[in-house]
């Protein structure tokens, strides 16, 4: 007790000393008011998930006429509504097969022309993109995003991170071709494909409220070209035997534009599409 009292006393003495010093410098009276506010950023996060099987293609031993389909589901796993999802081909790693002596095809007519490039090879493939995600009162379901586009055009038209994959004449021709393959031109944004829902009241993009997932079905077909033949009757398409391409596709989820909020607390509106706030 005595100890405590002494401590308190010295505390007062200390305070007095302080106020005396302050008094010497300033003219003493002041008042301090405090106001506190806090703010926290939300999260914008999208995950890809599988629908009835894997969403990546890893297929070998393809032959002309083959086709393969994949479904990709876009899940919103953040706290903010996603405005749209943009798809683009970022990169293609091409491996050319030129038969050496003793290897398959070395004695065939196509071996002379076996040196092919990535664009020739991608031109052998056709892509269909269809939005199939089931959601509330959508009369446009399923929606065609891209019909019978050449994989070569899709690659050339892409706004790749690593620059344009071809010269500007080829790129603009390819962009024109992709535009004609897209039934709805608003599907193209900054030379990327908008694969999420558009113009569907309340469901545009990938909102959290109401909860929504968009699904896209991608079908890739290996064209069967029986027109072009060599003199001996073998198909020119044979020159693509053994070739392979590794394609990197990116899907970017984008946020809605910023808005003013005069309320307080958690911004529920940010879980909804812009037209549904």
């Amino acid at each position: 007790m005595a100890m405590k009292k002494k401590l308190a006393m010295s505390g007062i003495a200390g305070a007095m000393g302080l106020s005396l010093i302050a008094g010497g410098t300033w003219a003493a009276f002041n008042d301090v008011e405090a106001a506190t506010n806090s703010f926290q950023a939300g999260t914008l996060k999208m995950d890809l998930s599988e629908v009835d099987g894997p969403y990546t293609f890893n297929i070998t031993d393809l032959k002309p006429g083959d086709h393969m389909t994949r479904k990709i589901q876009f899940d919103n796993t953040g706290s903010l509504a996603i405005k749209d999802v943009l798809m683009t081909i970022e990169d293609v790693q091409f491996e050319d097969y030129v038969p050496e002596k003793g290897e398959p095809g070395f004695n065939d007519a196509w071996a002379e022309e076996a040196e092919t490039d990535v664009l020739d090879y991608l031109d052998q493939f056709t892509v269909d993109l269809i939005r199939v995600g089931l959601e509330g009162n959508d009369s446009n379901y399923p929606t065609n995003v891209l019909l019978e586009a050449s994989l070569k055009d899709l690659y050339l038209a892409s706004d790749s991170l690593y620059g344009q994959p071809g010269n500007s004449t080829d790129v603009s021709a390819a962009r024109q071709a992709i535009l004609s393959a897209a039934p709805d031109n608003s599907r193209l944004v900054d030379d990327r494909l908008r694969v999420s829902t558009i113009a569907n009241e309340g469901w545009e993009g990938i909102p959290l409220d109401p909860s929504d997932e968009d699904q896209v079905k991608i079908t890739v077909s290996f064209n069967d070209d029986v027109e072009d033949t060599y003199e001996d009757g073998t198909y020119k398409q044979n020159k693509f035997q053994g070739d392979s391409a590794d394609i990197t596709v990116s899907f970017e989820a984008r946020q809605w534009d910023g808005q003013e909020y005069d309320g307080d607390g958690y911004i529920d509106e940010n879980e909804r599409t812009d037209t549904n706030r």
């Binding site: 009276f29 008042d31 008011e33 405090a34 106001a35 506190t36 506010n37 806090s38 005069d262 607390g265």
Partner: protein, 222 residues
């Protein structure tokens, strides 16, 4: 109790002694005049007005979002206020890497400090006696840039907020939008702030007017 009454007795005997001496020296007539002086200190009282919307707690913000709030400061004291100084501090922040940029982009890409997070918010204050200032919150905390300091915009000799008056300010805080991406990546650098938050403490210090010669004040004047 015992101590207190002893003290009382001591004082009484002191007074008695004094009066005995007095009685011995002077006789009878006297006159006593009384002068009463009053030195009543005034009150310097700044209050955040009731209609202020400045205290808020907002979450789930995205870049581009902003809040517009009103700050009202009332002088509820009996003394005029000269200047009102602001100081801002921030706490309750925690670094987060929601998108796992440290592995998706490069090591360190998802890391940031409190001061970096604060730099993503722009503070615009206008109103009062003609204040107009814009600064990022990190500047406000560090008193750098154009961050508002004396929000009365008056100097040492001028009344900033007279007794009974109020000052009203429009305060806008905006989560700025920055589309810069990491090199060779689609990820925007700003993604590293996802999910982060902070609490801002604004202190408003009101100062008194300089001391004056009050010799000529009328009696009863304050």
């Amino acid at each position: 109790m015992g101590f207190k009454s002893k003290l009382g007795v001591g004082v009484m005997s002191g007074v008695l002694g004094l009066s005995l001496i007095g009685g011995g020296t002077y006789a009878a007539f006297n006159d006593v005049e009384e002068v009463s002086n009053t030195f009543a200190a005034g009150t310097l009282d700044l209050e955040v007005g009731e209609d202020s919307t400045f205290e808020f707690d907002i979450s789930n913000l995205k870049p581009g979002d902003y809040v517009e709030k009103e700050l009202i400061l009332d002088n509820n004291g009996s003394l005029d206020i000269n200047q009102i100084f602001t100081s801002v501090s921030a706490d309750e922040w925690e670094d987060k890497d929601v998108l796992d940029l440290n592995s998706e982009v490069s090591a360190g890409a998802g890391d940031n400090e409190l001061i970096d997070f604060l730099s993503q918010f722009q503070l615009t204050v206008s109103g009062g006696n003609g204040l107009s200032a814009t600064a990022t919150l990190d500047q406000a905390v560090n008193h750098t840039g154009n961050s508002p300091f004396d929000i009365t915009t008056t100097d040492d000799g001028e009344i900033g907020l007279a007794t009974g008056d109020s000052l009203s300010y429009d305060v806008k805080i905006k989560f700025v939008e920055d589309n810069t991406t990491f090199t060779d990546s689609r990820y925007h650098v700003q993604n590293k702030y996802q999910g982060e938050g902070a609490t801002l403490n604004f202190d408003f210090e009101a100062t008194q007017m300089p001391g004056e010669d009050r010799s000529n004040d009328e009696v009863g004047e304050e």
